[in-house]
Symmetry: C2
Subunit: 333 residues, 2 copies
Amino acid sequence: MNTTLSISEAKRLVATCLETNGCSPEVAAQVAHVIVAAEADGAPSHGLFRVPGYVASLRSGKVDGSAKPLVSQLAPSAMKVDGAGGFAPPALAAARTEFIALTRRSGIAALAVTNVHHFSALWTDLESICSEGLCAMAFTGYLPFVAPAGGTKPLFGTNPMAFGWPRGDKGPMIFDQASSVQARGEIMLAARDGHRLKEGVGIDENGQPSTDPNEVLKGAMLTFGGYKGSAIALMVELLAASLIGEQFSYQAGETDNKDGGPPRGGELIIAMDPVQLGAKGALDHAELIFGKITEQPGARLPADRRYENRKRSALDGLTIPKAVIEKIDALVG
Amino acid sequence: MNTTLSISEAKRLVATCLETNGCSPEVAAQVAHVIVAAEADGAPSHGLFRVPGYVASLRSGKVDGSAKPLVSQLAPSAMKVDGAGGFAPPALAAARTEFIALTRRSGIAALAVTNVHHFSALWTDLESICSEGLCAMAFTGYLPFVAPAGGTKPLFGTNPMAFGWPRGDKGPMIFDQASSVQARGEIMLAARDGHRLKEGVGIDENGQPSTDPNEVLKGAMLTFGGYKGSAIALMVELLAASLIGEQFSYQAGETDNKDGGPPRGGELIIAMDPVQLGAKGALDHAELIFGKITEQPGARLPADRRYENRKRSALDGLTIPKAVIEKIDALVG
């Protein structure tokens, strides 16, 4: 019950669907790029499965599919891009070149991304920055799905944090991880496919542990590593909301129109230049610890599986459940 | 079998011990301050218990107790302080005022701390920065005690990461957490006191799960939240070593003289100015989510227990095991 699409077929399908539903051709291409990149990298929870959510947010008028992001300087080493109510990828694209140049000049720089609707994987935000030889971090909130450690009520977003390190031709080492034990999309896929969750992923509406994805979707997800993941989730809220003048995940939950698409929120990106920060041979040095990790049987680098998936997808195309394709087709028609 | 000391008595005891063993009066006071602050805040694993380690590193000549830190500018928004082979607190003290001013001017700034011996709690490094109205993060490596996820051999340091957010008169919200499930010092205390560890804290020399602190000290500690904590531990290595030209925890393990004191390493601090980054009312906004956390029964803010301990310590003094005091007394004599 699967269909195989090439990368370019998948991009065309998604872009057409987004354009039909109100995106400008440029925005449609940018968003299709990140959706298909996630699918190709082995993260279907951020892939074509999400297209109906993107479309719902266009149809409800929550997201402006032809928004013009506005880039401005906040301070000598801090920039802002106001996404003007559009999706996140066009906002990042508008600021990227200037942000990379600012980081190279300053040694370290911050990019505050506000007034965007972020629905994509964070690693795609960092890859184009780290590919330029920079080290970078990204933080973004979402909707209130995750309980703080010790509590039982959803408050935090799944709040991913990503970090990337340049590796020249090998492609950057990037990890991108939710502050929750699992990503929301994975729980949604488990619900769709009738799978149970592992212990510790979430609690039901009464605060009791549950492995039923439908109960956890109604209750609350839990943070990874208990109070430590909870502290990271709180940090993400402060960085992606308070610091840059955006709303918290719980505030997004109050203001969002519940169309199933991405809520309005913020993202903070910090980038640093290893050359400027004084480490001659920083990249060669980093390869030493990458080697020490991969020489241990069973251990691997965060991004390696993603790059393997990407290679395979380029050769063999993408395997997409027929039901997902049919839904997208119906949204085009 | 405990002794009660006032804060000032404890500082005097520790400072005298450090001075007797080769610290300049200024360095002795700075180091004594962070040791006693950790004890007062309820973290004995970074408190007076560590004095013999500090002294060992002075006696072996590994650490220069009267090192003169050298502050320099790396790039418009990045500074460096070369600790000149001394303890970390004097290096931070030498750079602090200028670093805070740089952050205010630039919006964001990085401080690369190299050639220091870091043995103290990270939150003390951030508190004086965040008390000035800035938001900040800190990262430092250590010695190879922690296995990467999936592996069985120690590679990473316990690699704490700290984050702080200013709260005006309330004192900053700061979390400071090892990338390992537990701090090394806590496992050492468990070994000393004959306590078992919880499941999942570590493995023995053969890579098998163990709850015996002595076996885990010989084997490897595990990261919190599995591969997610492992990714953070890797990030800390890259930020506190490769990025700023210092050595990895595993390299410290190769070069350290094993005197039981702190190895040579680096620390990265990133600070941001909420005023510059464009969020009017950022601090008031942050209070909203702090309130949402504490209104959930069972949930609390990361720093709250620390501040409660601090208040109690100021009133009632510090309760220190007699054996710890006797060891310090013997090192003075």
